[in-house]
Symmetry: D2
Subunit: 153 residues, 4 copies
């Protein structure tokens, strides 16, 4: 169970709508698999066109789902009228990202009015086993009064 | 002019062949625009399906070309029988990655037998102006005796 | 309990002797408070001359004990004839480092023959409460065949 | 020459006064050797009690002067009534920090109203030669309306 209380009761819908608007997630075939206050999980099935020269997921693709998992974990705790911006992240690649599926689990470490710090663990699932393949530490900015998407009517 | 002397005179061909084998570069439409000893440049034209929810290049996609630019800058100085592995990187997103084109310029900061440190600057080109949008600091590992690709005959 | 099996049964003594040889630890008044396989804890009591201009522990001092906590966590799993070198780290300062005591808890995330990745949490103890004030993600190198100190006889 | 125009014409005095209030700088013997808009340099002569177990400057001490050099480079561009806070940094240790003197040169990469990004190069001076031994990439926060020190009178 999460220790965080969301400011926006509709946080999960807000995360899902925003995720659906990230064109790159559709391009690579990533899906949102879990949304809780301060915790977001993204899964990415293997495809050869997501890989680097040795056939492992490219570090940039691992970073792409990890950055979004952490970003949406932060966003889930933001007020309804705010949007999220990654200011920086650092990723350690612990093992080759190989397997049928990558799973990025983003968690808020420290929420803040302006800056939120998250960490993300990326697991590589292969033949039934889940192995950590990357760890990310990230700073997100909350832009209040600038909703993630224009209201339509 | 680069200050580095490559160990492999065929370094540029080796970089180009390896780049061509990174499936993800074709997926996103990235191209290798410059290869010198210790310096590699990758360009990425704008596409809506490379973006996040606000229409800017996704930080993970920026990271993808930056990671490869730095990785190949390191690789250009490796011996012919070695392959390259990113062990970690850190990226600061300086400004929204918006424009017609992203250009990642990777440079070797400190070559080493086992570890090489690179930095990468990413520029966003918009209406004729180039603006820095990201900066990356990265550690690469040299795997000697493990050529980047299998020899075929 | 730690999940790691040390290669050197005398790991704790080796860590303690090496720590005692870090001149800077005596200068700042840091002490080794816990040594287990893959986990090392360092404590630092408050002193005005460890602070920045607002009276909080300086980020560099927080980094100093965090770097050593992670470094010795890695070192505890190394073979007896090896020494340790930090290749890089990243620290997020989560809250002002204020209080009577800082405690840095370093843990091995991923041991490796050449590179080991650690994470370190730094807690600020104030009026009986412990609050996370920093988080560090770090890469260490194992230099085999180069013992941490010269053998004397 | 610096490309930055300081908001506060008295920036250099403001940096010097704040530096003098960092207790840790006196403890380790660091001195401010250069202050320009967006550029600050700190020097640190060798002392055995600043070292790790192999007799090199401890990575945390290298970080301490690097963090302050970057922090004051950012601070030099802040308005007069603002203070500075490091939110995170990443340091790559390029070579052993050995020699008579360390010199940290901090430069603003991207100034901002809330967040400023700096990079710092640390040189080790030994027998007349200066060799890069560390590189740092850092995010600073500007706290407006919270002057660095209380006004006295």
């Amino acid at each position: 169970m999460s220790a965080f209380l969301p400011k926006d009761p509709d946080f999960a819908a807000r995360v899902r709508v925003s995720f659906a608007r990230q064109g790159v997630m559709a391009l690579i075939g990533a899906r949102l698999s879990r949304v809780e206050p301060g915790l977001v999980e993204i899964e990415l099935p293997y495809r050869a066109d997501l890989c680097q020269q040795h056939g492992f997921f490219h570090a940039g693709i691992t970073s792409t789902i990890a950055d979004s998992a952490g970003g949406y974990a932060a966003f889930s705790l933001f007020p309804a009228d705010a949007s999220v911006l990654t200011t920086e992240f650092k990723i350690n690649l612990l093992a080759p990202a190989e397997g049928e599926l990558l799973r990025a689990v983003g968690r808020v470490v420290k929420p803040g009015r302006t800056l939120t710090v998250c960490e993300v663990e990326v697991l590589a699932l292969k033949a039934g086993a889940a192995r950590p393949c990357a760890k990310l530490l990230q700073t997100l900015m909350c832009l209040e009064g600038r909703p993630d998407m224009p209201l339509t009517g």
